[in-house]
Subunit: 354 residues, 2 copies
DNA sequence: GGCGAGCACTCGGTAGGATGGAGTGCCAGC
DNA sequence: GCTGGCACTCCATCCTACCGAGTGCTCGCC
């Protein structure tokens, strides 16, 4: 399995990246067929494929060549061929044309966004469900990180004589809250006064950049409240950058594999928010929109492929869409769904914000 | 499978609920053994069990009786016996003593609550992970419904010239938000004024009970803002009662069954928040803390059992804990974990609020 | 009357062997 | 360079036999 040796985007190696037309057609047919049947495909099934038009013997010799070059593999002698990760990669990069979503799916997306409402979190949550429905994959939606979103407003609401709730509204409409223990009984007047001072002091800065002290008033009681709030803000700041993750349709992983062990290990990964978010980020940072099998480097997901798509609001990156399926997932469909939903979601979120 | 005919709690039927001591011991041993081995258990394996002390032939005749009475069943002739739902029920009600959490688990719980911090949502989320770790089941934690939690404060924060964010803080410290489209450009002054009117008008009432109109000021611009907010409040009100659900450790369902189909159907249920929340509520309303197999009436979960435990804050019900596992789950352990975590969580949440 | 030893019986799981078929690699010939 | 033909491989399936775990039943014993 040394297929992932140097698959860089440079195209430098002496081996030509582009296969001879017929071999490409054969690879294409193998991948397509295997994606839909999940069965190793033999030479006989390929003679009718477009672009092939040779006898099965010739197909066999081409397939043997494709296997030598690492695009195909055999589960065992005298079985058909199955694509390798490299085979899928070539398919995704050179063979799969830019697909459209099927009409039913398009209709579904249109209806979804026509009735879209509510706040961003529930929007993202429901989007993950939509994507799972469209692609039969597990869908992941990562919300914006807010790491550098400036504070728009700070309020303090008294909950009990010595407990207040610090409510921070960020410029994009997201809300953070943190309860604050106060040293002394404090009435609403004083809380409002403290909130005013805090707002002036913090306005326009992201939460993580608010430093320890939060201004003074000269009044010792109010200053006590402010000090307590500084601690709460620090807590919020340290949580900042922890993007929200919404996973939809994880049950589809159970349909994708028949080994229950595989299902378990994949689900275990999906439960680890940090791992998933990092994985998506990592793939995106490498400039990929598809990561196949070993390419993403998460061992328990070796038999999975990942499709990622950034979400942007007003040009700024504001989240990520991810689709997880078996390596024999329907790439064109998944890419089309991710693109369409990503675009619609991006423009939907941009619209709401103005 | 007519085992669930009349299992009411009345105890009315002529058949005595209590089994003869040896049969009870045998049932106990079968359940215990089957829980730990997942294999049908035969008469030979039971002769050494405490309270049995008879030959395997006698055990066999007792087992045959237990099967006639519906407590046991055979996968096929000449296999050992497996408990039925009724068998598990008897085990839970009469045989399983009140168990303690094992020391390792107790330690884990102690550490968890010692370092507990953050807001209620993340607290509940992490609690679901803790419970899954403790019991090897899938854990569900349902937050409070807020249906009747009074409004403590309402604020309006301008996000764009014609968009404001309505931020509603409830008396228990939870926060609702909803963006509001405004008909005209509105400055912060006017928003603050509208928020003041709104707060006065809504204070102390739950969101769902805020009626259409939200007061007037005489000033047409402010009244326009108020009208827009009334719509937003209605939206929030209609979402009220939709409790938050946190599911942890769903990957454990893949380890619990070896039929991948079962795993898929169970996971599909777990993805439907409303179904899960309703299920937990339903079981709790029937006064049960354990629902086994067919007892809970959700067909795809027929091979699962459910342990539920209410969470209360200051005496008022404030959520639910649920554990989902195969019917051969470790009931004593699950009950102990649910009880301990539920108690600790209840008192933790009560403490924070004062 | 309840209990236990003995016995015949059942049936799932496993191992061995035969068979068929899908698929391959190779080669000679067009 | 492609194709038809051929020998070969190996999985999947089926059948059979067989072992063993487990049962139900009966009869004798205390």
């Amino acid at each position: 399995m040394k297929t992932a040796d140097d698959m860089g985007t440079d195209g430098g190696p002496s081996e030509p990246e582009i296969l001879d037309a017929r071999k490409a057609a054969i690879l294409n047919a193998v991948v397509t067929e295997y994606i839909s049947s999940a069965q190793p495909v033999g030479s006989q099934h390929l003679v009718d494929a477009p672009g092939v038009a040779v006898s099965s013997a010739t197909v066999r010799s081409d397939m043997a060549a494709l296997e030598r070059e690492g695009y195909l593999t055999q589960p065992h002698t005298s079985a058909g061929r199955v694509p390798t990760d490299k085979g899928y990669r070539f398919f995704v990069d050179h063979l799969a044309g830019p697909a459209m979503l099927d009409p039913v799916g398009r209709q579904q997306v249109r209806r979804f966004f026509a009735h879209a409402h509510g706040e961003i979190e529930s929007m993202l949550e429901r989007t993950s469900g939509l994507l799972a429905d469209l692609t039969d994959c597990t869908a992941m939606v990562v919300g914006p990180s807010h790491e550098s979103t400036p504070i728009r407003s700070i309020q303090l609401v008294g909950l009990a004589p010595r407990v207040a709730l610090l409510v921070v509204v960020l410029a994009d409409g997201s809300v953070r809250k943190q309860s604050v223990e106060l040293a002394a009984d404090t009435d609403d007047e004083r809380l409002a006064e403290a909130a005013r001072v805090l707002t002036v002091h913090c306005l326009g800065r992201p939460v993580a950049q608010v430093d320890g002290e939060c201004g003074t008033t000269g009044d010792p009681d109010t200053d006590g409240v402010l000090a307590a709030c500084a601690g709460a803000l620090a807590t919020l700041g340290s949580e900042e950058g922890a993007e929200q993750l919404f996973v939809g349709g994880s049950s589809r992983m159970a349909a994708a594999f028949d080994a229950v062990d595989t299902v378990r290990s994949v689900l275990t990964i999906l439960e680890q928010q940090l791992v998933v978010v990092t994985l998506l980020r990592d793939v995106l940072d490498r400039g990929l929109s598809v990561a196949i099998g070993s390419e993403h480097g998460v061992e328990p997901l070796a038999s999975c492929a990942l499709v990622v798509m950034p979400i942007s609001v007003d040009g700024a990156e504001a989240g990520t869409i991810g689709l997880l399926g078996p390596t024999r997932m329907n790439y064109p469909q998944a890419l089309a769904a991710a693109r369409v939903v990503g675009d619609r979601l991006s423009s939907h979120l941009s619209e709401v914000g103005r």
